[in-house]
Subunit: 516 residues, 2 copies
C-alpha cells in the first residue's frame, strides 16, 4: 500500500504555535489544553455515592482530622464553627461542603506566554509531568540521584512536547542543590526553560512564599493577586492528619490567590482501609477539609480537589501502582468531586517497573486512562514515572508524552456529522471496491488517525532488516536525546531574568546550606 503522505513526522513544536498536523483535539478546541469531547465514565449510581458521602460525614464529625503545628489553621476552624479539641478538629455534616462552595469550579492558570494559559476545571484536561522522584534513570547510565541538570532536561523535554500542557513542579529532586535552596533553582528553571504554566514549592512556608514572590517578578504583584499563575501541590499525612508544613504552604498559596492542589496519598491497608469504598470516603474527607481551609484563608481562592489511591502487594507488602482498584477508585472520586463542583486531579501514569518495559506501559496506560475517564482536569504525573514513583525515566517520559498525544485523539471522541458519516463515500465506492483514493478519503485522511512517533508499524521484515529490530525503549532513548539536542530556550525578558537572578542570589545568601 502506498503511503498517503511522503513524510508525516510530526512537526516540531515552535514557540506559541501548535503543530499544524495531528493535534486534532487542540484544533477542535483551538486551545493549548484538551477540551474533552467524550463524557466522564460514571461507575456508581446516586445511592452508592450518597453512602460514601455519609461515611465521609461520619469520619469528619465522629473521628475528626488533626491539624498539627499550625495554630492559624485551628483559629480558622474555630471561627468557622468546627469543634476544636487540642489539634483535633471535628466538623458537622455539610459544614465543609458549604465552605468550599465559594471556590471556583474552573479557573485559568496563566503562563508567561499567554498562548499557553491553561483552563483548569469543567471539560478541560491539562497534562503535566510527573512530580517528586529522588532518582532519574536512562538506558545508558541506569538509575542515579537526580541533579539540577536532569531537572532542566525534563523541563526541556516537556516544553518540547506538543502533548503536554504544563511544565509541572518538582519533576525530579535536584539533590546536588541544598534542600533549603533548591526550590529557587527549580522555580527559576521552570520560568527560564519553559514558557508554560508551572508549580512552586510547598516543602516549607517560606519556600512557598519564595515561589509566589518569583512569580510576582514575572507577572507583576497586582496581576498575581487577581489571577492564578502558580500551583502548589500539598499532601495530607493520611490517615486524617494535616501537618503544619503543608497547611502553612496551602494557606500561603490561597492567601496569594494561587491554587493549592490537595492530595491525600492513601495506600490501602496502611494509610487507609484495605477496601476501596472506605479509602475513597477517607480521601474525600481529607481533601474536602483541605479545600475548605483554602476558602477560610481567602474566600474564592482557586483550589484543585486531588486524590491518590494506591494498592499493596500481599506477597511483599510493597505498594503497587497502575492496578485495577485505584483505577476504579479514581472514577468514583471524580463523581464525588463533580458533585462538589471543584476542579479535579486524579491518578496519573504510574508504574512499579524498574525498566521502560511492558510492565511500565501496562500499568501506566491503565492508570492514565482512569485519570482521563474519571474526568480529571489537571493530571499531574502524566509522564515519566517508574520504580513506584521513585525514579523519572528519560525513556518513559517520551513514551508517555507520545501516549498523551494518543489521548488527545481519544478525548476528541467521535465527531458525527455529514462529513464523518461519509454517505458520499459509500455512494462513490460501493461494494467490493476500496476507499483509498475516493474524494472523502482525500478530504479527510490528514486528520483522521493518531500516528505515534514511537510505535513501530512497519512490516516485520522492514522492522528487522532496516529498523534494527528495535524495541520501543530503544527508540525512546534516541528520541529524548534528539529532542534535547534540538531544544531552543524560549525568549525571556532580560529585566525579568535579572530580577529573578537577583532575587535568588539574595535569598541564597541569606541562608546557610541545609542538606536534609
Amino acid at each position: 500500500m502506498e503511503p498517503l503522505v511522503a513524510d508525516a513526522e510530526p512537526a516540531r513544536r515552535t514557540r506559541a504555535a501548535r503543530p499544524a498536523r495531528r493535534d486534532n483535539a487542540a484544533k477542535i478546541a483551538g486551545v493549548p489544553y484538551i477540551v474533552r469531547n467524550i463524557p466522564t465514565y460514571d461507575i456508581l449510581g446516586e445511592e452508592n455515592l450518597v453512602k460514601i458521602e455519609r461515611v465521609a460525614d461520619r469520619i469528619l464529625s465522629e473521628v475528626g482530622i488533626e491539624f498539627r503545628d499550625d495554630p492559624a489553621s485551628l483559629d480558622h476552624w474555630k471561627r468557622a464553627g468546627a469543634k476544636v479539641e487540642g489539634v483535633l478538629v471535628r466538623f458537622e455534616p455539610g459544614m465543609l461542603n458549604e465552605i468550599v462552595s465559594t471556590a471556583p469550579a474552573q479557573f485559568t492558570q496563566h503562563a508567561r506566554n499567554p498562548a499557553h494559559n491553561v483552563e483548569i476545571g469543567g471539560s478541560n484536561v491539562v497534562f503535566s509531568p510527573a512530580y517528586g522522584s529522588p532518582f532519574v534513570m536512562d538506558l545508558d547510565k541506569g538509575r542515579r540521584y537526580g541533579t539540577l541538570e536532569d531537572f532542566r532536561n525534563f523541563i526541556k523535554l516537556a516544553q518540547s512536547s506538543p502533548w503536554l500542557h504544563h511544565s509541572g513542579g518538582t519533576i525530579c529532586e535536584p539533590v546536588d542543590i541544598p534542600v533549603n535552596k533548591r526550590h529557587l533553582d527549580m522555580v527559576y528553571s521552570h520560568i527560564k526553560y519553559s514558557d508554560r504554566a508551572f508549580m512552586g514549592s510547598i516543602t516549607a512556608e517560606e519556600r512557598a512564599e519564595d515561589s509566589i514572590d518569583m512569580a510576582r517578578l514575572v507577572f507583576g504583584r497586582d496581576f498575581v493577586d487577581r489571577n492564578c499563575v502558580i500551583l502548589g501541590n500539598v499532601n495530607v499525612n493520611s490517615p486524617l492528619v494535616w501537618d503544619g508544613t503543608m497547611t502553612k504552604s496551602l494557606r500561603a498559596y490561597a492567601r496569594a490567590n494561587q491554587a493549592a492542589v490537595i492530595v491525600p496519598f492513601i495506600l490501602g491497608g496502611a494509610m487507609g482501609p484495605v477496601t476501596n469504598a472506605g479509602a475513597i470516603a477517607q480521601s474525600y474527607a481529607e481533601t474536602l477539609a483541605g479545600c475548605a481551609l483554602t476558602q477560610l484563608e481567602r474566600k474564592g481562592a482557586p483550589v484543585i480537589f486531588g486524590n491518590f489511591l494506591s494498592s499493596m502487594s500481599l506477597r511483599s507488602g510493597s505498594p503497587t501502582f497502575g492496578t485495577p482498584e485505584p483505577a476504579i477508585g479514581s472514577m468514583v472520586i471524580g463523581q464525588l468531586a463533580r458533585r462538589l463542583k471543584l476542579p479535579l486531579r486524579c491518578a496519573g501514569n504510574f508504574s512499579n517497573s524498574k525498566r521502560p518495559d511492558a510492565q511500565a506501559m501496562q500499568e501506566g496506560v491503565m492508570s492514565m486512562l482512569s485519570a482521563v475517564h474519571c474526568g480529571a482536569n489537571f493530571i499531574l504525573h502524566s509522564a515519566g514515572f517508574l520504580d513506584g514513583l521513585l525514579a523519572m525515566s528519560y525513556e518513559k517520559f517520551v513514551m508517555d508524552t507520545d501516549f498523551c498525544g494518543a489521548l488527545h485523539s481519544y478525548l476528541a471522541g467521535v465527531v458525527v456529522d455529514d462529513n464523518t458519516l461519509a454517505m458520499d463515500a459509500f455512494l462513490q465506492v460501493g461494494p467490493g471496491s476500496h476507499f483509498l483514493g475516493c474524494d472523502h478519503t482525500m478530504r479527510n485522511y490528514q486528520t483522521a488517525f493518531w500516528d505515534s512517533a514511537l510505535s513501530d508499524n512497519e512490516p516485520f521484515e522492514k522492522w528487522s532488516e532496516e529498523g534494527g529490530s528495535t524495541d520501543m525503549a530503544t527508540r525512546a532513548n534516541k528520541r529524548w536525546k534528539k529532542t534535547l539536542a534540538e531544544y531552543e530556550v524560549p525568549p525571556l525578558d532580560v529585566a525579568i531574568d535579572e530580577a529573578l537572578t537577583d532575587y535568588i542570589e539574595r535569598r541564597k545568601n541569606s541562608m546557610a546550606d541545609a542538606w536534609y
Copy 2:
C-alpha cells in the same frame, strides 16, 4: 513493611475448580466468566446514535451488500422481501432489525466440562485467546511459522490460566498440517487439551460441518441441536461484500443451532471510510446483514454481533492497532449492539509491536480496555497477538492473561456496603495511626487487591540484586515454560476420544493433502 501473607503465589488452577484466592470477580459471581459490576461506557447520546443508524439504513437500502457465490443466501433474501439484483441485495430500512429480533440476547455456550460453561450476552464477559496468526514467536527462537505443536501449546497455556474462560479457535495456523485437514487437528486439540468451550472452522462449509460433527461426538446430536457448543468466527469481505465461503459456513453454524460471530474487518481509508462515524455505520450495516442471515437460516439460532475497526499509519500506509480511534469506535458499536439486543464482540488485545515490549502493552491495554468498556460479551483476541495480528507471542500471551486477571478485579468495580465502607476501621484507628493490623484489614486483606504474577513490585535494590534486573518479557518467558511443564491433560472419556480419532482418520483418508 512485613508481608501480610507468607506466600501469595496464585494457586495453580485445578480442573473444574477456580483458584481459591485472587479470583475476586469470579467469586462474586460464582461462575467461570465475568459478570461485570461496572456499567458500560456510553460515549454518544441518542441523537448521534440515530444519525449513525440512519446512515446504515441508507447504506443498506441505497448501496446494498453483495452476497457472492451462495445462491441459497440470495434465496433467503428474496423470500424475506429484500431487493435482489444479481448478487446485490438491498434492504428496506428496519427490515433487518425486525429479522434479528428473533436471535437470543444471551445464550449459554456449553463446555465439555459443565463447570466451564460460559454465558454470552447481558452483563457477562468471556475472555478468549487471539485467533488466526500464521506466525508464532518467543524470546528464544524468534518468529517462525506456527505448527500443531505451537497450537497445542497455546491451548495448554489457555487451559492453565484462571483468567481466560474459553479455549478459542485458530489460535495460530498449524502450517505443518495440510490446509484442508488442519481444522480436524485443531478441533480435536481443543477438545483433547482443554475442557473449556471452543470455536470451530469456517474456512469452508465442509470444514464447518466437520467441526460441528466432532462437537456432536462429544455432546450428542440432540444436545447440540438444542444447545450452543461451538462458535464459528465469520468475516465480512468489507466493504459491503459477503463471500460465499463465509455465508455457507455462517449458515452451517446457524442450521446446527450453533453461534456464528459476525465480524467485518474495516481498515479505515481502505475497506471503509477514513472517518470513524462512517466506518462505524458501515460495520453496523455489514454485521446486521450477517446476523439477519443466521435467523433466515434458522430462527432463534444464537449469533454474536462483532466488529473490528482499525486505523492506518499515514507515514507507511500500514494498519495500526491499539490506537485511539478504534478504541473509541468500539464504544459506539457497543451502544448500537445493545439497541439491537444482541451479544457483542469488540476489539481485543492488539498491537503492531514485534516484541513483547512497552509498545505491545501500551497498544494492547488501550485496545483491551476499550473492549471491556464498550460492553463486549465475547472478547476474542484477549491474549497473545503481536506484529499486527500476524504472530502469536508466547511471552505476550502470558502477559495478556495476567492482565485479564487484573480485568477481573477492574470489572468487579467498587462494592459499597457496611464492610467496604469501613467505618469500624476509622473508629478503631483514628487520625495519625495505621490500618495494617486493624480488625477490618485482617478481615479483608486477602481479597482486597489484584496482585500480578508478572509485575515486579520489589524495591529497586531487591529487584536488581536478587531479581536479576529482569524486565517483564524475561519473567514471562520463564512463566510460559513453567506453565507448560506443569500442564496436565484434563480427563476425556475414552469412547469419545476414540470416536473423534476415528472420525478424523476417516475424514483425512477421504481427501488428498492440499497445501494452499
